[in-house]
């Protein structure tokens, strides 16, 4: 019944969000609408970026796709999340587990805290390998086959010293290595979609570059889709084909990355690009989005497709 989940189906997008709303509790009796009627599509093999300023709802959107929202019963999700055409809003935990096991691999922001400190890296990667692959390779889940697979994924994620890394605990690795371990965990299930949420904000510029390159290569090698969440336009520019721009919980603009960056149509995107450029271009004056403009964006969001 669920075997279809990982097979591309002609005409159906891999991920399809329509009118997604997410309300999260923030305190005893208050809540926040973190995501407001978001429409978003990711096709097979596509690389999609999601940008927007801090707190605009990027992570919540990403987590909705992986079913990793907080487990509190006060979290309310409405609208539709379709993964390979299957409706996931209100789906039972088992279905979500299936999706997470096979379809969506997630890479998180902080490489230290997102690895279990008490478990060796190798095991953490191994856990991510669905047994079927080993069964298929005839090894029947036996240890060495599993180990070999672990080493393979670690190497693929840019860790040539796989044996040693697998035997390490996370704290024994550098930030960049840890981030690559997270990549290995995400790709170990050979997912249809790699979902990376600010995978490098915690890293140095130099390390960031290496990790991004690894991610780029791995995704290309596996031919999976990529959804890259970041507030750094420069990062998204180099990695994705298509980009969504979020502001205050809504998607305000969408289009091919090059086009959006070159000719932004929404006022917010324009202003954002202007201020980013003002920081890097030697000749332009520093530009910060005026408050009046921001208030307007927040109040009357307009979607530019």
């Amino acid at each position: 019944m669920t075997t279809a989940v990982n097979q591309p189906v002609a005409g159906t997008p891999l991920i399809e969000l329509t009118g997604l709303n997410v309300v999260l509790p923030t305190g005893e009796r208050s809540e926040v609408e973190a995501v407001k009627s978001v429409d978003l599509v990711v096709h097979d093999g596509e690389r999609v970026g999601l940008v927007g300023e801090s707190g605009s709802g990027k992570s919540v959107t990403g987590r909705s796709i992986a079913g990793l929202l907080p487990t509190s019963p006060r979290v309310r999700v409405s609208g539709s999340i379709r993964i390979r055409g299957q409706e996931m809003v209100g789906a039972p935990a088992r279905t979500w587990n299936e999706v997470r096991r096979k379809t969506v691999g997630m890479i998180f922001q902080d490489p230290l805290t997102f690895l279990n400190p008490t478990m060796r890296v190798g095991r953490q990667v191994a856990e991510s390998i669905p047994d079927r692959r080993l069964v298929r390779s005839g090894a029947g889940g036996d240890r060495t086959a599993r180990d070999r697979a672990v080493f393979r994924f670690l190497r693929q994620a840019g860790l040539p010293d796989a044996e040693q890394v697998a035997a390490s605990f996370p704290h024994e690795l550098s930030g960049g290595m840890r981030q690559r371990v997270l990549i290995a965990i995400a790709i170990a299930k050979e997912p249809s979609l790699v979902l990376a949420d600010e995978p490098t904000t915690a890293l140095d510029a130099t390390v960031q570059q290496h990790v991004l390159r690894t991610l780029d290569e791995t995704v290309a090698e596996l031919g999976t889709s990529l959804m890259l969440i970041s507030h750094d336009l420069a990062v998204v520019a180099g990695m994705t084909d298509r980009v969504y721009v979020m502001y205050a919980g809504r998607i305000v603009e969408e289009g091919p990355t090059a086009q959006v960056l070159a000719e932004p149509r929404h006022e917010y995107t324009q202003a954002l690009l202007r201020s980013v450029r003002s920081l890097t271009d030697q000749d332009t004056d520093l530009y910060s989005i005026p408050l009046a403009l921001r208030q307007r964006f927040a109040e009357e969001p307009s979607h530019v497709a």
Partner: protein, 340 residues
């Protein structure tokens, strides 16, 4: 590895200093205390001078304080804790060891029950957070944590011994028989275990909640692992870390708490010996019990440190004592919890 050895070296040294500090403080405290131990020994009758002189000499009390202190300190390290007043020639250590078994007979089961029970109940509560089961477990834990344990013991006696007649009220075995009777063990062990169980449940619950809220659990979720796998394989090992510390402390509290519990149940352990010694100003025995207790607590602390180092891979390379505090680090309890 070198750092680790260095660490243990420091730990041993500071434990030693602590140990000497405890002996010193207590020794002089007892020295300062009012009351004439010799008179107390002889009883409430006039004491002849000759006899007083003999006793003083027999127990070496005629030497100046500091000399006795140095002598005592030296003896302690050779395992000689002096002689009990009265029960003549009985070395304090023998006296204590003859009682220690009885106390351990209560403390060990209480320790095991409270630790294992606390881990299980705390995990269950954390997992079913905000539902009735959690409410029941955590409410019950706070309640049991707030009951004075001697009163709890009294209530148990009242209900199960006096009204229902299921268990004996006092003692450790039928009179005149050696050993420990199981039915004698039940109520005191329950009494001893409850408040510890309550405390550990609370710690375990909050540490489990914290653990379940950690980022790496999200990574595990993202692998599509089942929720029981998450709970037992990922969250539990991390949540157990604070329990190592708490359990380490708890043995000390249980032992100190035996003073009250043994009194309630007339259990002839170290606690009763201690109260008895205090009432009779049997200074060497007071000191001896405290020393034995201190040694146990210090050893358990060291053991805790070692276990912690083994359990938490992060500590195999480096040490940060902050991390060894329970997550409710706010209430890292002092010894005094015994009354709880």
């Amino acid at each position: 590895m070198k750092a680790r050895l260095f660490h243990y070296g420091r730990l041993l040294l500071s434990s030693l200093i602590l140990f000497i500090a405890v002996i010193t403080v207590l020794f002089f405290l007892l020295e300062m205390a009012p009351g004439d131990p010799i008179q107390t020994l002889v009883g409430d009758v006039p004491l002849s001078e000759a006899f007083r002189a003999q006793i003083t000499a027999a127990y070496g009390l005629d030497k100046p304080v500091w000399e006795r202190y140095v002598l005592y300190l030296g003896n302690v390290f050779t395992g000689n804790l002096g002689f009990s007043f009265g029960t003549n020639n009985e070395p304090v250590l023998d006296l204590i060891l003859s009682r220690a078994g009885n106390t351990l007979a209560l403390a060990v089961p209480a320790f095991l029950i409270s630790t294992i029970g606390g881990i299980i109940l705390g995990s269950i509560a954390a997992r079913t957070r905000k539902r009735w089961l959690d409410g029941g477990i955590s409410g019950g834990a706070v309640a049991l944590f707030s009951v004075p344990n001697f009163w709890f013991g009294m209530l148990l006696i009242m209900v199960f011994s006096i009204w229902l007649g299921w268990f004996p009220t006092q003692g450790k075995s039928p009179y005149g028989q050696p050993g420990i009777g199981f039915e004698y063990l039940v109520l005191p062990v329950i009494t001893m275990a409850t408040s510890e169980l309550a405390y550990k449940t609370r710690i375990m619950r909050s540490s489990m909640i914290e653990s379940l809220g950690q980022d790496f659990v999200d990574t595990a979720r993202s692998k599509g692992l089942s929720s029981s796998h998450l709970l037992w394989r990922h969250a539990l090992p991390n949540a157990l870390l604070p329990m190592v510390t708490v359990s380490g402390y708890s043995l000390g509290y249980i032992l100190a708490g035996s003073v009250l519990v043994e009194r309630v149940f007339g259990w002839p352990g170290m606690g009763l010996l201690f109260i008895d010694a205090i009432n009779r100003q049997n200074n060497m025995v007071i000191l001896g019990v405290v020393i034995v207790l201190t040694v146990v607590i210090i050893l358990v602390n060291i053991l805790t440190d070692v276990v912690y180092g083994l359990v938490d891979p992060r500590l195999r390379a480096q040490f940060s004592p902050q991390r060894t505090l329970p997550p409710e680090g706010r209430q890292d309890r002092q010894s005094d919890e015994v009354a709880a």
